[in-house]
Structures are given as C-alpha cells and as structure tokens.
C-alpha cells in the first residue's frame, strides 16, 4: 500500500513538473532543437501549407530579379488564399509525417503541398549523417507530455547511429542492393567503378559518381520513405486533409550526359512507381521530374533540388495547376 501511495504521489509530481517545464523552459529547448514545432502553432490558421526541404529557397549569392520561394510563387496564383511554408534543410517525409500530425484537429489548414525529393528514397539520404539531428527533432514532434519528450532526447531514445555506422550502412547498400541492369551496372559500387570520365580527380567523374550514388536504387513498398508517405496519406484521410505531393525536378540532362540512359530510365521508373502508388490512393502527385533544363539547377557539382528563378516558377506553376482542382 505504501508503495502504491508513493507511486501515486510521484505521478502527481510528474504532472506538476511537466506543467512547470512547459510553461517556463520548453520553448527555449524547442527553438534550439525543433523550431518547426513552434512554427506549426503560428501558421495553423491558414489555407495552404507548403512543406519542403531546402528546395523551396532561392540560391544564395546569385542575384535574381525575383528571389522568392516556390511557395510564394504558388501563392501568386491564389490571391485569396492564405499560404504558409514550413522548411527545414535536409528534411524529408520522415519529418513531414510528424509535422502533419502536429497540426491540431481544429486547424484551418486543410491543404498541404508536400515536396518529394526523389533522392530522399535512396540509401545515401536515408542513412545520411544529417538524420541524427532530424531524428532528435522528431522526438519533440511526438504527441507526448513535453517533459517526457525532453527526457527521451537525453536518453538518446532515437536512431542516433554514429557517422561511421551510417557510412557503413550506405556502403553496404551500394554494394549489395541489386539494380535492374546486368553487371557491371548491377550495383552502385560496380556501376561507379566503370564510369567513363577518367580517374577520381576528374570533376566529371566525381559528379557522375554522385548521380549514380544518389539515384541508383529501386523504390518498393518497403522503402522507409514510402512508409512515411503512406502514413501521411493515412493522416490526410483520417483528418480530411487534402495532400498534394510535389515530386521535385532532377537534373535529368546532366544525369543523361554524364551517366547515360540507364540511370535516367531508373529515375523515371521510380517516379512512375510513386505516381502510380499515390494517384491510385486518390492523392494528387505533381510529376516535375523532367520539367527543368540543366541551366535551372544552381548547384553544378552535386545533384540537388536547388533551382534558379525560372526553375522555381515552372515548378510553382505546375503545383498551382494541381491546386486549382482543390481551390478553383
């Protein structure tokens, strides 16, 4: 009986401490580790929310006539709607699904545009070193008492594999994951080994290598990002939220010229798989994979989804077309 009384008292103390922590200390920690948590509260009463990684932003250090974000260009098409954006560099569906769930039931935001980077389905991104920080943030996005979330963060109760472990996992995937081509293009490592652009010091060789590493994979239903998107679809259905997936453009021209048709075929095959999966589930997926030219990509030494003004406007226009079906 004494033990039960003490446990009950401990429970009361914990409730009181959670309240004190939330009132006086939680905001400072969230600002440091998971600022999007606070952002959700600020923007929950708008019409459309654009969620993406860094692709939404204009390039730094390149002067433009209209250096605005993709989300702002989209909003130009809908003057009567309130648009907001949530952006976090390197984030992906594994983060977005938690953010989506954070929006309260009574939120006025009923349309979400979710950006999809094709790269994010590959082992390089899934096992990136940046994942540890994102996983830390995800601890805060869970719907639990805030003091418990903070405690779990201290206990490292999330996937916090070391950089070496992550690197080893990526290497493992590159060496064993089968690609739908005969050898030597049957794995990423084998494919990279036969690239035609001279030795490793040649920048073209390095870039070709990165294209293979970033896009050399086959998406299937077991892919963790697919599961994340599926989870988002579930939330969307359960809460009557409209979700528009915005599959971002990739530098197909450069991939084609450096690596060849096999890689671009694989990229298109993966895209088709995603389009089929989510349109068949009743969601809209804007396929921007091949809509931009090489000149629209601002990073020239690594495959990214960073676009110039023209590129951002083209993508925004395509997204707006899809949104018009929801907001005529």
């Amino acid at each position: 009986m004494l033990v039960i009384k003490k446990i009950a008292l401990l429970g009361l103390v914990l409730i009181a401490l959670n309240f004190i922590y939330k009132q006086f200390a939680f905001t400072a920690f969230v600002e440091q580790y998971a600022d999007q948590y606070l952002q959700v509260d600020k923007i929950k009463d708008c019409d459309v929310i654009y969620v993406s990684a860094s692709s939404n932003f204009p390039p730094e250090n390149i002067p433009e006539n209209d250096p605005r974000k993709i989300s702002q260009f989209v909003s130009d098409h809908f003057p009567s709607l309130r648009f907001e954006a949530i952006n976090k560099p390197a984030s992906h569906a594994g983060v977005y699904r938690h953010l989506l769930a954070l929006f309260p039931e009574e939120s006025e935001a009923k349309t979400f545009v979710i950006a999809i980077n094709l790269r994010s389905f590959g082992p390089s991104w899934i096992n990136s070193e940046l994942e540890t920080a994102l996983n830390q943030s995800n601890v805060f996005y869970n719907q639990r008492p805030v003091l418990l979330n903070r405690f779990l963060l201290s206990l490292n109760s999330y996937d916090n594999a070391s950089a070496e472990e992550r690197s080893a996992t990526i290497q493992h995937h590159w060496s064993v994951d089968e690609l739908p081509f005969p050898a030597p293009k049957n794995t990423v490592n084998n494919w990279c080994a036969v690239e035609k652009w001279g030795d490793w010091r040649n920048p073209k060789r390095q870039l070709a290598d990165q294209f293979i590493k970033q896009f050399g994979f086959v998406i299937d239903a077991e892919n963790p990002r697919v599961k994340d998107f599926d989870a988002m679809c579930e939330v969307g259905r359960a809460r009557n939220i409209s979700i528009v997936f915005n599959l971002l453009a990739e530098n197909i021209e450069t991939a084609d010229s450096l690596v060849g048709r096999d890689l671009t075929h694989l990229m298109r095959q993966n895209t088709a798989w995603l389009v089929d999966r989510y349109t068949s589930k009743g969601f809209r997926l804007v396929d921007n994979l091949d809509v931009l030219r090489e000149r629209n990509f601002t990073d020239k030494d690594f495959p990214t989804e960073h676009y110039d003004e023209e590129g951002r406007k083209i993508i925004a226009k395509n997204v707006a077309e899809a949104l018009k079906e929801l907001h005529p």
């Binding site: 103390v13 401490l17 004190i20 200390a25 920690f29 903070r150 963060l153 201290s154 916090n160």
Partner: protein, 466 residues
C-alpha cells in the same frame, strides 16, 4: 544496455518486480538470466567471452581448491592468470603493441596494422577489464584460502555477471558479494527508497553534470591549437569534474540498482577532490579498483614491509599497471607514473609535515597533480598532451568560442557542494534527516533536472571504454 537509456528504465523495474514475486529458490536464476540479457543487449557475441572467462575460472578454482600440493595450486592460479590477462592482452593491448612496438620496427605494415586494429577495436567487449579483475580476484582468493569455491557453475556465473556492476564496477570481492546473491530477502520498502535515491542522484550527476560538461571538454581538447591558456586550464578542470561525475554517477546507479534487490555493493568514491595528498586521493577515488590493486598486487609484491627501494619499485609497478588497466596508450602509463612518483615524493618528503595550516597548500598541490595528470588521461597521445600543457602555460591564441550555459554551471556548483556535504556520508542518509516535504522537493528537483535539462548528445559512460 546503458543505465541512462530507455531499455534499462523498462528492464530494471521488471527485474525488480519479478525478483520479489518469485520464490527465493528461483531468484538467482532470474538474476543470471537478466544479467546475460543485460550484457548481450550490447552485442550477443560478448556473451561468448564472459562465458569463457567464467568457465575457465570456475574450473581453475575447483582445481586449486582440490589440489594438495602448492605446485598444483600454482599451476591452477597460473592458468587463471594466463587466461584472464591473456584475454585482456588480446582484446585490449594487442592493437597498441602492434602500433607502438611492431609497426615502428617494420614488423607489420600499414595495411596489416589497420586490419588488425579495426577488427580488435570493434571486438573489444564492454567492461572486460572489470569482470576480468573480479573473477581473477576470486581465483586468487581461492588460492590463498580466503574463499571457498562455489560448486555450482551457474551460481558462479551470476557472481561474475551480476548486471548492476558487470560493465564498470564496483569490482566486488567474492566474500562480499557472493553470499548476498543467494541470501533470502523479503521485500522491504527501504530497498526501493535507498536504491531509488542513489539512482536518482547518480542519474543527476551523470546526465546533468557530466553530459552537460562533455561538449565543452570535447571542444577544448579537439581545438586545443586555437584555445587560449585560460580555456585550456578550464578545459582540464572541467574534464576532471566530468570524469568524476560520469564515473561516480555510474557507480551510484550501479549501487542503487543492486540496493533495489537488497544487495549492498561497496562504495566507489568518497569526495576524492577533497584529498590533501595523493595517498588520500587514492583512498577516495575508484575505491574498488585501488583496493583491488592493494590486495592482489601490492601486498603480494611485498607490501610496505620491504626496503625503501623495493617499496618504490612496487608502488611504481602498481600505479603504472593501474594506468595500463585504463587503456592501451602511453598517456595512461604516464598518468599512472605521475601518480606513482607523486605518491613516493609525498611518502618520503612531505607526509611528516602535518600542521593544520599546511592542509590548504597540500590540497592545492594534490589537486594540481591530479588535474595535470587528467590532461594525459584525456589526450589522444603524448604529443597532444605535451602540446596541451605547454599551451595551457603560454598560448598566444585568442581563444575559441565556447557556449556556456548558466544551467550547466549551476549544476556543476551544486554537484561540487553536495559532494563536499556527502563526504563520509551519502545522499540517502542526508535525505533521511529531512522532512517529507523537503525530501519530495529534492526528488522533484532531480526529476525536473534530469528530464528537462540533461545533456542532449550521445555520451556513453567514460569508463565503459576501459
């Protein structure tokens, strides 16, 4: 599994509840299963090694006890020493031997060295130095007739693997721990109260003090080329506090965990930074290891009843072996040597000065040596340590940008004050003297600090690497 992890926080109450629900005759089996689960949770492969060590020491102890001649007993003991120290040598020191001895004389090439080190570094089992010493102590005790060997190999396996103290001590003696594991105990609320308090305080000093200091210490030691003299000195001081709070915190959680089961483990620390001599420091720091070396190395070497020269050699052996026990690096050897030489100087020249007014300068001198030696302990190499020390004296750098947190500084201050207050006592005794409201206020403070303000980066206990 780590003490400061969610799996352990679920594992512990489950084991404690099952322990007191089960009839007495089943309890030790539960503890054995729980201990192997606890250890195997890191890597299942680790179990093979502890099992091997257990089997060897079980049978060598039986052999020693049943041998009628001294020669046979010595053979038995040698087998135990060879096996246990051989395991340590293989897993812990072979990489160092290859790199620092064979590689410089070109007996192995770079590729061979890399392959060897990457395998053995990966394979180094957590806590091998701790359980190896514990089981070695057992066979030595049997050899000297101080312990009657356990006849049940499974019960002996529990003595070796008892999970609260398996991976980082306290290193227990057979005569102290063994009988407690098998004595019938009725559930008593005081077990929960005592153990819970120690665990709470241990988690506080590990997670709030050590883990909040850790990023600053890492930054200073990694950027020592750019740090100012003041920052390097503060970095060394903070490392001394970090390693103490980290290991003391671990020990308290271990002792508290055992206490929940009604088992008393030995204390491992007693305010070591209040010591006014190196001798006193070692009577307060990692007590279970320093007494192990005293009982199983210093005394067999002849103890104090030998000539001054032999005594000096014995003391240096003990301290240097103690340094090597911590890790395979010349920095640990130098760390042990600094303590050994200081101990001798103190014994021969300083210990006769006992005036009260000398206590403060003696404390200052002791702390200077202890914290200077910590620089060697923390540095990756002798060169790095020498560079750190010379820059701490005269760095021309403007300094690095360090993020100080008022909360972290407050935690450090509170820890040092409380440590001073609990000297020769414990938080449990202190809390017993407080009113119920004061006690619960202290609990609430610890819970809020641990849950809300602990360090956020991944820092395993420092002593796990040893």
């Amino acid at each position: 599994m780590l003490f400061n992890s969610l799996p352990f926080l679920l594992f512990l109450p489950t084991v404690v509840a099952m322990y007191f629900i089960l009839p007495h005759r089943w309890r030790w089996m539960l503890l054995l299963a729980a201990s192997y689960f606890f250890y195997g949770y890191w890597k299942i492969e680790y179990l093979g090694l502890i099992l091997f060590s257990t089997i060897v020491d079980f049978f060598t102890a039986q052999f020693i006890a049943s041998s009628e001649t001294q020669l046979k007993k010595k053979i038995g003991l040698s087998m135990s020493l060879f096996t246990n120290l051989g395991l340590l040598a293989l897993f812990k020191y072979s990489g160092w031997f290859m790199a620092d001895v064979l590689h410089p004389i070109s007996a192995v090439n770079d590729a061979q060295l890399n392959d060897f080190q990457s395998f053995w570094t990966f394979a180094l089992p957590v806590g091998i130095s701790f359980y190896t010493f514990q089981t070695l102590g057992y066979t030595i005790d049997v050899y000297y007739g101080r312990a009657i060997p356990e006849k049940n190999p499974f019960k002996f396996a529990l003595f070796v693997s008892f999970f609260p103290q398996l991976v980082a001590g306290p290193i227990e003696r057979f005569s102290h721990l063994h009988h407690q594991l098998f004595t019938e105990k009725k559930f008593d609320y005081s077990f929960l109260q005592h153990g819970g308090r120690l665990i709470l305080y241990g988690l506080f000093i590990k997670m709030c003090v050590a883990d909040n200091i850790s990023p600053i210490v890492d930054q200073v030691f990694e950027q020592q080329n750019d740090a100012s003299s003041a920052q390097l000195i503060i970095g060394a001081l903070l490392f001394g506090i970090q390693i103490y709070s980290d290991f003391h915190g671990y020990s308290l959680i271990a002792i508290g965990t055992a206490r929940l089961l009604g088992i008393a483990l030995m204390d491992n620390f007693n305010a070591p930074y209040t010591a006014t001599s190196i001798r006193e420091f070692w009577s307060k720091w990692h007590i279970s290891l320093s007494t192990w070396f005293r009982d199983y190395l210093f005394i067999p070497l002849g103890g104090s009843r030998v000539s001054n020269t032999k005594l000096a050699v014995n003391i240096l052996i003990v301290f240097i072996v103690s340094g090597l026990w911590h890790g395979a690096n010349w920095t640990f050897v130098a760390w042990g040597a600094i303590h050994g030489f200081s101990y001798l100087i103190e014994r021969w020249f300083i210990s006769k000065y006992t005036a009260a007014w000398l206590k403060f300068p003696q404390w200052m001198a002791t702390m200077f040596i202890v914290f200077l030696a910590w620089i060697l302990f923390r540095s990756a190499s002798m060169e790095s340590a020498a560079y750190y020390i010379s820059n701490a004296v005269s760095s021309e750098s403007a300094g690095i940008s360090i993020e100080w947190s008022a909360i972290s500084i407050s935690f450090i201050g509170l820890f040092l004050l409380s440590d001073l207050h609990f000297k020769n006592s414990s938080i449990h005794i202190w809390l017993n003297k407080q009113s119920a409201i004061a006690r619960w206020a202290v609990y609430a403070f610890f819970i809020l600090s641990i849950a809300g303000f602990a360090g956020t980066t991944n820092h395993p206990f420092i002593y796990f690497q040893f």
